[in-house]
């Protein structure tokens, strides 16, 4: 997992986490549509990462715990759609709080995935 995509995803999801936090503080969901757009881009990039990850796993000669690694790749794809669904059905400002949680989970998954990849 050395390609720069995971670093970009890590930073992008943290930026969106801060963005969600600001919206939560503002108590008015200004520009929530832009945030959802950014999350869609992150989700697409996660999809690319999942495909690349599976390819890398198939090509590596080192021992990597495949089930756990692929589990994290699949898990990473579920978080943002689930968070968005749970968020948009909430009328109050706490809806973006759910997006904040989702955005914070992505970096954790990426870090764990890198640990699994390097055998920590």
């Amino acid at each position: 997992m050395v390609h720069p995509l995971d670093t970009i995803l890590l930073i992008a999801s943290l930026v969106c986490a801060v963005w969600s936090l600001v919206l939560l503080m503002l108590s008015r969901p200004v520009g929530k549509r832009w945030l959802l757009g950014a999350l869609l881009l992150i989700e697409l990039a996660l999809l690319v990462q999942a495909v690349l990850g599976v390819v890398q796993l198939a090509m590596t000669h080192r021992h990597v715990s495949g089930v756990v690694f692929v589990g994290y790749l699949i898990g990473s794809l579920l978080i943002l759609p689930a968070a968005t669904w749970w968020s948009v059905t909430e009328k109050s400002r706490w809806g973006v709080g759910v997006l904040l949680v989702g955005c914070l989970v992505i970096p954790v998954i990426i870090v764990r995935m890198n640990q699994v990849w390097s055998g920590v």
Binding site: V67, V68, G71, G75, L78, I79, A82, A83, W86, S87, E90, K91, S92, W94, G95, G97, V98, L100, V101, G102, V105
Partner: protein, 139 residues
């Protein structure tokens, strides 16, 4: 007996975020304990059984907060209490006798591997059950 007002009070507002965090822990604890039990159960049976117990408690809490009926709120109160006792007991035991836990659980050292969220979560859950019962039902 269903009470739509109570249901909405339980699962909206901060409750929505609480449910999201519980769902993340339900998913991660379930996946983690499933892998641990399937691949290396005999390395640390106690730790892995405790991970599975934690996973079940997180699932129960997620479902109960989402349902928000009187019964499920009662179940959530019990499960959050068990969760709090569990994380305090396992946390203390893992500090006093680390050799009993050759591999860590979600609740080891009060959940330090998870940013101490495991020890805060049941407290927030119990506070939320208290608070949402007094909040007037949103329209």
């Amino acid at each position: 007996m269903s009470d739509p007002g109570l249901r909405e009070a339980t699962r909206s507002g901060p409750g929505r975020v609480l449910i999201a965090v519980y769902a993340v822990f339900a998913l991660s604890a379930t996946a983690r304990s499933a892998v641990q039990i399937a691949t290396k159960f005999h390395d640390a049976p106690l730790a892995y059984v405790l991970s599975a117990v934690a996973a079940v408690i997180y699932i129960v809490a997620t479902v109960c907060f989402t349902r928000g009926s009187r019964t499920s709120r009662l179940v959530a109160t019990v499960s959050c209490t068990v969760e709090l006792i569990g994380v305090l007991a396992v946390g203390t035991a893992s500090v006093l006798d680390p050799s009993a836990f050759p591999d860590s659980t979600v609740w080891s050292v009060y959940g330090d591997g998870y940013g101490f969220i495991p020890v805060v979560l049941p407290i927030l859950g119990l506070l939320w059950i208290r608070r949402s019962s007094r909040v007037p039902a949103p329209v």
